[in-house]
């Protein structure tokens, strides 16, 4: 058998650009696994999640991050959460499934999404151009997460810091998404 090797080329790999008061980068090796809570088994699932990640499953619209850890747990719906963590290999889902020991359903979402982190004092002004949600610090506090649409593309936005937001959108339209964010920054810079 011939020796074939597969090289990973995620759509925004290595992207990192500064625009003055705003920085935009694609986090490297960010794995995403969805966790669905079985109907009637929510309590057990929540317990398993706490035990697996050391943090509680947050309320809908929030994410929790373990202190000092790089993983975060986003609650996107009554029965849906995403866990995000650094992982270089394509085995994120089995890793999570193993930790949850069958208490929840898991699906690998790593390659479904592209991720961009926008940070800096101009982030909010840039996001006003494409995000229809109210991102005022009083309305969208640190640790808030929401599903929305940006430039006709489905997106998830999480406020990870005072001026830092993590944005997720479909990986197939990553170039359009990047263009939309870059243009918003350029137009407001």
């Amino acid at each position: 058998m011939a020796d074939f090797t597969l090289t990973a080329t995620p759509p925004l790999a290595g992207y990192n650009r500064s625009f003055g008061s705003v920085s935009l980068k694609a986090p490297a090796n960010l794995a995403i696994v969805s966790i669905a809570l079985p109907l009637g088994g929510e309590a057990e699932a929540e317990k398993a999640i706490k035990s697996a990640f050391g943090i509680d499953l947050p309320e809908i619209g929030l994410f929790n991050a373990a202190q000092g850890e790089t993983s975060m747990l986003m609650r996107l719906g009554s029965d849906l959460a995403f866990v995000l963590f650094p992982c270089e290999t394509p085995d994120a889902e089995p890793r999570v499934a193993k930790k949850l020991k069958g208490a929840a359903y898991t699906t690998d979402q790593t390659d479904v999404w592209c991720a961009l982190e926008i940070s800096g004092t101009g982030s909010l002004a840039a996001l006003e151009r494409i995000c229809m949600l109210d991102l005022h610090p009083d309305a969208f506090k640190v640790n808030a997460v929401a599903r929305t649409v940006m430039e006709h593309m489905g997106a998830i936005i999480a406020r990870t810091g005072e001026d830092t937001y993590l944005l997720l959108s479909a990986s197939s339209s990553a170039k359009s998404f990047l263009h939309a964010i870059e243009l918003s920054i350029e137009n407001t810079a």
Binding site: A2, F4, L39, Q109, T110, D111, S172, F177, L183, S184
Partner: protein, 982 residues
């Protein structure tokens, strides 16, 4: 030219000079000027020609209601027509040209139209150009369009950029005049999040134009101080040059911000931004618009609204004329005279329609009581006015005041109807305002300064209290209420000359009366018959006087006569701003397949499929056209092996204890008993029994399924399944998540597909026909451990697999598959060859699932299980959908094999006329089959399955062709399915 009409003072910076040109003539102005104020300062009274009669026209107002002073602003591709000079901020290097004349502005050849006016009254073209009918499009309309109209487009692509955005607030304050500033200040001090938007570049509204005082300060100084306080507050967003143009549902407002229109160069930034403002509450403080009085030849350059004259004098330090007269029916007109006189401008006469004493002392002015203006003299500039008593007063400027109309427009955007207020003879907001909106100040009929301030504050406080804020206890600003009484006078009946109501559309009092005489008496009919209130100003200065005249004609009151409906936008919004950034390549998002880069490097031609760009075919050297490529790809796939990126097919991960039962309800055919490790083809029905999608679902484990949908319906299927899960069967433990983008999936089809995959899939996986038979599925690893999914399914009819790897490896995987396939002469194929092969195999696709066809039509009727409850099976059993002569999916080939079938052609039996009544069906898909060497097609024909071998006519009236075709099995190749099971 020097600025002969420039006075001292105002809010312009006379220490700095700006140069601009009008019709190529060099002129000068100052920062703070509008183009209109600068033109007036330079003595340029004539600025354009009227829409219909090419009458010389000047500047009529000082704001966004301007009907006359429309110009082309800027030049070349940047040129914008119909720009109101009254709101165009002056900048150094501005170029403007006048509109709607042939020859020069001064000597417009089309001015002869005015001589034909007796023949061109309202509605003339409805009556005049009726015959011959063919002339309308070819002759009459082009001729009318050439002679009438507004500005012209540059006919070049707009080089400016535009953007849009979203804002949120507790309170949106629309208008930064006294009421708006008072409202914003009260709300902001309470801690509410406030957006204050004003269309002007200098907020303050009428305070900038008047000499009134607030708290002992000049009004304009109070405005500046208030603006400074608001600007320093974190909870306030001050938006100047921003017009809130529409009130939409749920407190949402549209606003246009003009970011760089006041700059010579946009510096690469968006020229304008279209904002969507989400407000919890809103205060409309849009002020009021002065209305004219109609009298003979009241449209000459030099005749202007009285409030506008005050604006030019007080704000811009400019007088419209050196010898001014004032014509008024109310106290407000007197202030114009007083302010002119205070600036040293000669006021020769104040003509008041009322028989009342002087409102104030105006040095040097004659007070003429109980009188009116009946005519004016001066073609390109006013020279004199004639009064009702016949006396002629020489003057070069006339200020006209007929009272003020509250700007109620936004209160009507959700069909609110204003009501008549007798005390100010104007419509005021009433009835159902847009939810969350309250109105304050002049927009609400509070036409005096003290009342406007107080109302702004009180209304804002009520609004924010409603939201739970506590109003601040600071001392409210105070001002006196200036005299403002008046008696309504709409037109001077003694005038025998044409008296203009709508300056923009050249509609006169006579036109409205004619509309009445000819039966167009509803204001909506009158508007359309006369064209009153149309175009860029939407009749802001014309509508009320016109409907007052209609009321006179009908003998009804004005409120009985009613108003026309105001709709967004309040002022014009450029199409460029509506398009925003969605232009060219970025018109909409595009999706790329994981192997896009490989395809691009290997000669792919791409086709848009929904938002996806898919490889349509791959051109090889020597191929002269697309058919060469497609034929080669299809043949080579059937002969050896072909590879196609099929990632675009929707993939839905279905998990849960009830997943099997759920899928059994979603699909029309049975899924309850699908074994782990197996794939099944399924069809989905709408509730009405129409088949809307098909695809395969693989059972990966006991409670885990992977569904594929068609590319086009991926979102639809997901949405319908979510609806079913959440609303129809919430008691089921089922969880859905899309993985379409997560897996790069490739069809590997052809007799050598297994051999190829055996080189890529890690050797511990058995791909033999026994170990991995047709319709098997499983998790495998490839290339030394990379996780993958393998499905033994076939769209081409060949032995085929689909292999999926995490999308990040997709591009590499395509290269690996091609490399592994080199020894088999493997070929990449695109969507066109995919389509050819599926037609050869007789598989239905989007052309067949067109929203009209049932499983019965598709020849899949037996798949619809009657032994279970699933979406659509009940209504699919309706007798009308199961008639024996229903159309059935069959194959077609031309009797003369050299001919090409045409998709969309309809079937008519031989010997029958090609009419709708004889229509028996249609061809849905056609292709040239390189395997068979002739054109083939799929289509639907009545009782098709029982008519195999019959010859019918395929008629295409669109193409004006017809041919004889033979009805055949839809399975052109391998009808027994031996290849795919091999």
């Amino acid at each position: 030219m020097t600025q002969i009409n420039r006075l001292g003072g105002g809010l312009v910076n006379q220490g700095q000079t700006l140069s601009f040109t009008f019709n190529g003539k060099q002129m000068q102005g100052h920062p703070g000027d509008t183009l209109a104020s600068a033109l007036l300062a330079n003595g340029q009274l004539l600025v354009g020609r009227s829409f219909k009669y090419h009458r010389p026209r000047g500047i009529f107002t000082a704001g966004s209601e301007e009907p006359n002073a429309l110009v082309h602003l800027r030049s070349g591709a940047h040129q914008e027509p119909n720009t109101r000079a009254t709101v165009a901020e002056l900048f150094d290097g501005l170029t403007a040209t006048s509109q709607n004349h042939r020859g020069s502005l001064e000597f417009d050849l089309m001015a002869t139209t005015d001589l034909l006016a007796p023949f061109l009254s309202a509605g003339f073209y409805y009556k005049t150009f009726m015959w011959p009918r063919a002339f309308w499009e070819k002759l009459y309309e082009p001729a009318i369009r050439m002679s009438a109209g507004l500005g012209r487009l540059s006919m070049q692509e707009d080089p400016d950029t535009y953007d849009k955005g979203y804002l949120h607030c507790d309170l949106l304050v629309i208008g930064a005049g006294p009421a708006g500033l008072g409202a914003a200040l009260a709300a902001a001090r309470s801690g509410a999040r406030v957006i204050l938007a004003d269309e002007d570049f200098a907020p303050g509204g009428r305070l900038n134009a008047e000499t009134l005082e607030i708290d002992g300060m000049a009004g304009r100084d109070w405005a500046a101080a208030t603006i400074a306080e608001l600007a320093a507050m974190d909870n306030v967003r001050l938006m100047t040059r921003t017009t809130v143009y529409g009130a939409y549902d749920h407190g949402t407002y549209g606003a246009l911000e003009r970011c760089t229109d006041h700059l010579a160069n946009s510096g690469g930034k968006p020229r304008q931004i279209l904002w969507r403002i989400y407000s919890k509450r809103a205060v409309l403080a849009a002020g009021a618009t002065e209305r004219p009085i109609a009298f003979g030849n009241n449209d000459r350059p030099g005749i202007m609204l009285a409030g506008a004259v005050r604006t030019y004098v007080n704000r811009y330090g400019v007088t419209p004329g050196q010898r001014m007269a004032v014509f008024t029916n109310n106290d407000d007109g007197w202030r114009t005279a007083a302010d002119l006189a205070a600036k040293g401008v000669e006021v020769c006469a104040i003509i008041d329609t009322r028989d009342a004493p002087a409102v104030c002392d105006v040095p040097g002015a004659r007070h003429i009581r109980n009188a009116g203006v009946v005519n004016t003299v001066g073609r390109k500039a006013l020279r004199a006015i004639t009064l009702t008593d016949g006396q002629v007063i020489p003057c070069d400027g006339l200020a006209v005041s007929g009272g003020w109309n509250p700007n109620v427009h936004l209160t009507c955007h959700q069909r609110g109807r204003p009501e008549w207020n007798e005390s100010i003879s104007a419509f005021v907001p009433a009835g159902d305002l847009p939810p969350g909106m309250a109105v304050a100040g002049a927009a609400n009929g509070a036409l005096t300064l003290g009342a406007a301030l107080e109302q702004g504050r009180n209304v804002a406080n009520a609004q924010i209290e409603d939201l739970g804020f506590t109003p601040s206890r600071d001392t409210p600003p105070r001002a006196e209420d200036e005299p403002h009484t008046g008696a309504p006078v709409w037109h001077i009946a003694a005038s025998t000359k044409r008296a203009w109501l709508d300056l923009q559309n050249d509609v006169t009092v006579k036109d409205v009366k004619q509309s009445y005489r000819e039966g167009f008496r509803s204001v909506e009919h009158m508007k359309r018959y006369t064209t009153l209130g149309m175009a860029t100003d939407q009749g802001k200065t014309a509508n009320i006087p016109a409907l007052a005249i209609m009321a006179e004609c009908t003998g009804k009151t004005i409120p009985e006569t009613g108003t026309t409906m105001f709709r967004p936008p309040y002022t014009p919004v450029p199409l460029g701003a509506l398009a925003g950034r969605a232009r060219g390549r970025e018109f909409r998002p595009y999706r790329l397949t994981p192997s896009h880069e490989w395809a691009k490097a290997n000669g792919a031609t791409f086709v848009e499929v929904g938002n996806w760009l898919r490889a349509q075919w791959f051109v090889r050297p020597g191929e002269k056209g697309w058919r060469d490529s497609v034929d080669r790809e299809a043949l080579q796939t059937r002969q050896t092996v072909g590879i196609c990126d099929v990632t675009t097919l929707g993939k839905i991960d279905v998990q849960g204890r009830d997943a099997a039962a759920f899928l059994n309800k979603i699909y029309a055919n049975g899924f309850a008993k699908l074994a782990v490790g197996r794939v099944r083809y399924g069809i989905m029905l709408r509730e009405d029994g129409i088949c809307y999608d098909d695809g395969t679902t693989a059972r990966m484990s006991e409670n885990h399924y992977v569904m594929t949908t068609t590319t086009a319906n991926a979102v639809l299927v997901y949405r319908r399944m979510e609806f079913a899960r959440q609303c129809l069967w919430p008691d089921m433990d089922v969880h859905l998540i899309s993985t379409t983008d997560g897996w790069a999936q490739f069809a590997v089809a052809g007799p050598n597909s297994r051999k190829l995959l055996q080189k890529v899939v890690d050797p511990d996986h058995d791909l033999s026909n026994e170990g991995f038979p047709f319709m098997a599925c499983g998790e495998v690893t490839v290339c030394g451990g990379t996780p993958a999914r393998l499905f033994r399914i076939s769209f081409s009819g060949e032995m085929a697999f689909e292999i999926a790897v995490p999308a990040r490896y997709g591009n590499a995987m395509m290269g690996v598959l091609m490399e592994a396939g080199r020894e088999f002469n493997a070929v990449p194929y695109g969507t066109e060859a995919l389509g050819v092969m599926r037609i050869e195999k007789g598989h239905a696709a989007g052309n067949e699932l067109d929203g009209r066809t049932t499983a019965y039509n598709l020849g899949l009727g037996r798949m619809v299980s009657s032994a279970k409850d699933c979406i659509g099976n009940t209504l699919s059993r309706r007798p009308e959908m199961n008639l024996p002569d229903a159309v059935k999916l069959v194959g077609f080939r031309p009797v003369d094999r050299t001919k090409k079938l045409i998709a969309g052609a309809h079937f008519i039996s031989e010997g029958k006329e090609a009419t709708m009544a004889n229509d028996e069906g249609w061809i849905s898909s056609v292709a040239y089959s390189p395997t068979l060497g002739h054109s083939i097609g799929l289509g639907f024909i009545k009782s098709g399955d029982t008519r195999i071998g019959e010859v019918v006519r395929a008629v295409s009236p669109v193409h004006k062709t017809e041919m004889r075709v033979e009805i055949v099995s839809p399975h052109f190749i391998d009808p027994e399915g031996e290849r795919l099971r091999g």
